[in-house]
Symmetry: C2
Subunit: 270 residues, 2 copies
């Protein structure tokens, strides 16, 4: 079995683990602190992914939200970038609307992307230059819907700063409507399904976006930081993703905004 098919089986196994663990815990002890629970499940799921990957591919390396791979400083060989639970607060408060996200890279080049919405049992997956799918169904290519006809996703709390309001407010005002779902991975999945046309984040980490970038990239969606530059694999970044038309419209708003640039660069230690 190749890495792609192994990854698909693994992410579904991890999803079953989360579903069982969560259902079990919530049923057995309703007084347990949900914050502790998520910490436990998050770490255990990352450990499960870590163990299975290294059992099978001892020379692969893994970067995870829960602490694995902090010492990785180059992109040589095969690197798995994993987020065991993207949408932690949804996991705690809603018991759904979270996902496992995985991006695999070989020598820094995208190899495959996986997002698993384990409560809905929807697996979004793409092998680089082989199309993108939800379960067995091929996803449709990006359409060039402009901003004024689009639903866009943001994180409202992140744009409260004086330095960031102005361009984001202009973009929001021009859009048809604004959504916020609390999981970047699932917002990439909604982009892949054409349910939203763009998403904008001031700060995400590679485990939040690599799976989604590979999947949506297969469909012609474009993802960059606010400057229009490619996203890094080993550090945080702002993330602007959408069809090429809306992506260009949005990036235009950030172009000459020095206040935003300064805020952004400090925020990412650039």
């Amino acid at each position: 079995m190749d890495i792609y098919n192994f990854g698909k089986e693994l992410i579904v196994e991890a999803g079953k683990f989360i579903e069982t663990r969560m259902t079990h815990e919530f049923q057995v002890d309703s007084k347990s602190n949900p914050n502790d629970l998520v910490t436990d499940v998050d770490k255990e799921t990352e450990q499960l992914l870590y163990t299975r990957i290294l059992e099978r591919f001892p020379d692969h390396r893994i970067i995870g939200e829960e602490g694995h791979g902090e010492d990785i400083n180059d992109t040589k060989g095969v690197i798995w970038i994993v987020d065991p639970i993207d949408g932690t607060l949804n996991f705690v408060h809603q018991g759904e609307n979270f996902a496992i996200s995985i991006g695999v890279f070989i020598d820094g080049e995208p190899y495959c992307g996986l997002i698993y919405d384990c409560m809905k049992r929807d697996l979004y997956h793409a092998k680089y230059r082989n199309g993108a799918f939800v379960n067995e169904q091929a996803l449709k290519p990006a359409e060039n819907i402009p901003l004024n006809q689009s639903l866009i996703a943001i994180n409202p709390k992140r744009i409260l700063s004086d330095a960031t309001r102005s361009p984001f407010f202009e973009i929001m005002a021009k859009s048809r409507s604004v959504r916020s779902y609390g999981s970047a991975a699932l917002e990439f999945a909604m982009l892949a399904k054409g349910q939203i046309s763009a998403l904008m984040f001031l700060k995400l980490y590679p485990w939040d976006y690599t799976g989604g970038v590979i999947i949506t990239g297969e469909l012609g969606y474009k993802t960059t930081d606010i400057y229009g530059d490619e996203l890094p694999l080993l550090s945080s970044a702002s993330v602007i993703s959408g069809n090429p038309k809306i992506h260009g419209e949005i990036i235009e708003h950030f172009k000459d905004d020095k206040t935003l640039h300064e805020f952004h660069d400090a925020f990412h230690d650039l």
Copy 2:
């Protein structure tokens, strides 16, 4: 059959109609304009509800988003307040995440509330002082989770005005995180399930909120306008809903905000 059980059967029938109509249309003619489609389905669904209710209860009156009941100026007798598709843009862009919403009042007093997420086939329903349910399952009473531990739902585009930013920004900053789903009815349903702790809207109409207010009211959630006053049945209103604790915390932010009050009153022709 009483009004409540009739209403439950009717809203499911209307949901099946929408689902069939939408699936059929999208399959038959993918080039049809989704905006025209939603207008058609919206109107046809309201007509279906209107016809069925009056066939059965000729003396009832109906207020609907699509134009019925504009001449109603009093709340005597039985009034059905219906929104055939709450979350129109989600219907158009996402093909899901919308709902039918119904509130029934007798002489101005709440009688029953119904929200049907027809794509998920989840029926939220409550008869006044008889508890609230999703399908056959009783929903849990509101817990007094404070703002700083809560997910809250807003419409981000609506708080772009200078007059409204300040209190909403303070509330958002204090919250644990902010969500926006694009359907007030479904946000009331999420409140009823405890998935969010509050929702805030600057302007809704009775067909957007009456079903949700009755359902969540059964569980101990409190809903008022920004002044803390009860919501009207025959005109638009601001809508602040949440458990009693968070509702009090939010209302406190609006209390002495004259700029907001002036904006609000002009917005609602008060």
